[in-house]
Amino acid sequence: MGVCALFEHRTSIIEPRIREGAGEMLTEGLVVVHECLGEKEQRLRRLVIKGPIAKTAKPGQFVAVQVQDSSISSFDPLLRRPISLAQISPDQDEITLLYRIQGRGTEILARACCGERLSIMGPLGQGFSVPKEGELWLIAGGIGIFPLYALAQDALARGLTVRLFWGGEHQRFLESAGLLQWQALGIPLHLSTLDGSFGLKGLVTEQVEEQLSLLFGQTKQEQPLSGGSIRIATCGPKKMMQAVTELGRNFGVPVEVSLEERMGCAVGACLGCVCTLRDEAGTLIHKKVCQDGPVFRGEEVVWDVSC
């Protein structure tokens, strides 16, 4: 009986409908800059959006952008696209998204003109943790560099020491994807390319290992070394992040990784985007990349299952 009464009570609540306060997470952002990033062949874009998101966003968080062509209403493509915050400027109320045209959705997004409004959900997910002091090493593979810029700016503003390890295919990619901006930060850069056209030839992780060894002695110790005040944040291909996590473990350096998964709701409601982690008891569990991540502690991620 109590329940029935409760329901009657519930249904008598006056219709609230679309109210103040609700929907602050869904905004119509104004496109203020949308341009080619670097050389055309790299298919990279820089999109600056004006809106309230910048006031609350943290590095490592992302937004879910509607990619429908605003001139013709259509449900194809249907879903929003997750894109990380590459720059957060609360004073200007601006966020910067850097993205690669990958398929149909980003292709349509690339057509959005300045002055247009884009429907944006966010800021979403849990970002990187920024240590209070010490040194932050950023390790990026390819376009995994994009979310790390916001983190670098934040960390530098807090007086941390920051260095970047970044690997890309070739010089033209690195230059297109923002090398100049990184150089302007005045931090140590350890660059590598697969073809050796810039920086060292090879994988970015080789440079990370080398620097860690220089600091702490040889790797592959029985006992993990104590990495002191260094923290690592990494974003890029899964294999790279796995290798970085491994290095972190060997040298006793905590690693945070930013995972990617296909998303439906982007708010934790559909379970489309799960990743597998190992909890403290060693049990395999699922977490939602959109809501619990995209940033996780590297050592809790189970890399070798595909789910």
């Binding site: 109590g2 329940v3 029935c4 409760l6 329901f7 009657e8 519930r10 249904t11 609540i13 219709e15 609230p16 409908r17 679309i18 109210r19 609700a22 929907g23 602050e24 997470m25 869904l26 509607q66 259509s74 449900f75 194809d76 493509p77 249907l78 879903l79 929003r80 959705g105 429907s119 959900m121 998964e261 296909r262 998303m263 439906g264 709701c265 982007a266 708010v267 934790g268 409601a269 559909c270 379970l271 489309g272 985007c273 799960v274 990743c275 395999l284 569990i285 699922h286 809501q291 299952v305 595909s306 789910c307």
Partner: protein, 306 residues
């Protein structure tokens, strides 16, 4: 214009309005709260539960298709016990009608869950999913064989005092036969439709995109199928129908009412626009008001009248 009465009566429960959210697309009710106030909704349907916890399928679980979405989540859920302990105390406090959704692999599974979920749990109704396409034997057999469907609905009806909503699978030749079967089993209402079984193949990998190979298709792509099924079933059985499948705009919702649905549910549409329920509700009200209707109920099945 006179205000339109949006109050909706279904299966003995009173909803403040006919706009619900679809199971598996709205988590446990709070995930979308920052986008759409829970107390604006007629009700929320929770993620499908099974007796035991399930991790579900591997990723990728989602693939976008033309105006649609294929999903193969595989009924990931915390299991009955954990639901009762950690989720129910929260969801029963939500300021809207909360409908639990149950799935099983055997008759006993369904009965066990129905027994544990009674009126005093604070839930408004029990939606019995006899149609999940994403797990092997995931109740699909209950959803495609009329005899089993009748049996499972009868069995849950016998052990709970909650109203029973039977959620039907569209992956059948004759939806009317299934609807009649669950009516005989004692269902108080119907949810139509669950997802349509589909698949998508990656041309580069030359492999299925979904880890599970097959998935359930939802979104605007399936709406015409859903509207057709609501139309057919509403002509054949007396039970109120919660219509769903591809509703993203108020016009879609009105189409379902006209076809014979008494309420509607929004699933994939929330992913596209998390405020869709609010906009759809407003649109339904305006549509009725413009036509001088005093109640949304007047819309139900209107397209059938010759």
């Amino acid at each position: 214009m006179c205000p339109v009465d949006l109050t909706t009566h279904i299966a003995g429960i009173t909803l403040r309005n006919p706009v619900l959210t679809g199971s598996g697309t709205y988590g446990f009710g709070e995930e979308y709260a920052a986008y759409c106030p829970v107390d604006a909704l007629g009700g929320i349907t929770l993620k499908g539960l099974t007796p035991e916890p399930r991790l579900g399928n591997e990723v990728p679980r989602l693939v976008e298709t033309p105006a649609g979405l294929l999903n193969a989540v595989g009924l990931e859920n915390p299991g009955l016990e954990e639901f009762l302990r950690s989720y129910l105390p929260k969801v029963r406090k939500l300021p809207t009608a909360v409908i639990a959704n149950i799935s099983g692999f055997s008759l006993e599974d369904y009965v066990q869950m129905a027994r544990a979920l009674q009126r005093d749990s604070g839930l408004a109704a029990l939606e019995v999913n006899i149609s999940c396409p994403n797990v092997k034997h995931g109740g699909m057999h209950f959803g495609t064989d009329p005899k089993s469907a009748e049996e499972v609905i009868g069995a849950v009806k016998a052990v709970t005092d909650l109203p029973i909503i039977a959620k039907l699978s569209p992956n059948v030749t004759d939806i009317v036969e299934m609807a009649r079967a669950v009516q005989s089993g004692g269902a108080d209402a119907l949810s139509l439709i669950n997802t349509l079984l589909g698949m998508s193949i990656d041309l580069d990998q030359q492999r299925p995109v979904l880890a599970n190979t097959f998935g359930g298709l939802s979104g605007p792509a399936i709406r015409p199928v859903a509207v057709r099924m609501v139309w057919q079933v509403s002509q054949a059985v007396d039970l109120p129908i919660i219509g769903m499948g591809g509703i993203t705009r108020w016009q879609d919702a009105v189409e379902f009412f006209l076809a014979g649905a008494s309420a509607i549910s929004i699933g994939t549409g929330n992913f596209v626009n998390p405020q869709a329920p609010l906009e759809i509700l407003q649109g339904i009200e305006d549509y009725c008001a413009k036509r001088g209707m005093a109640s949304v109920h007047e819309l139900v099945g209107l397209a059938h009248v010759s």
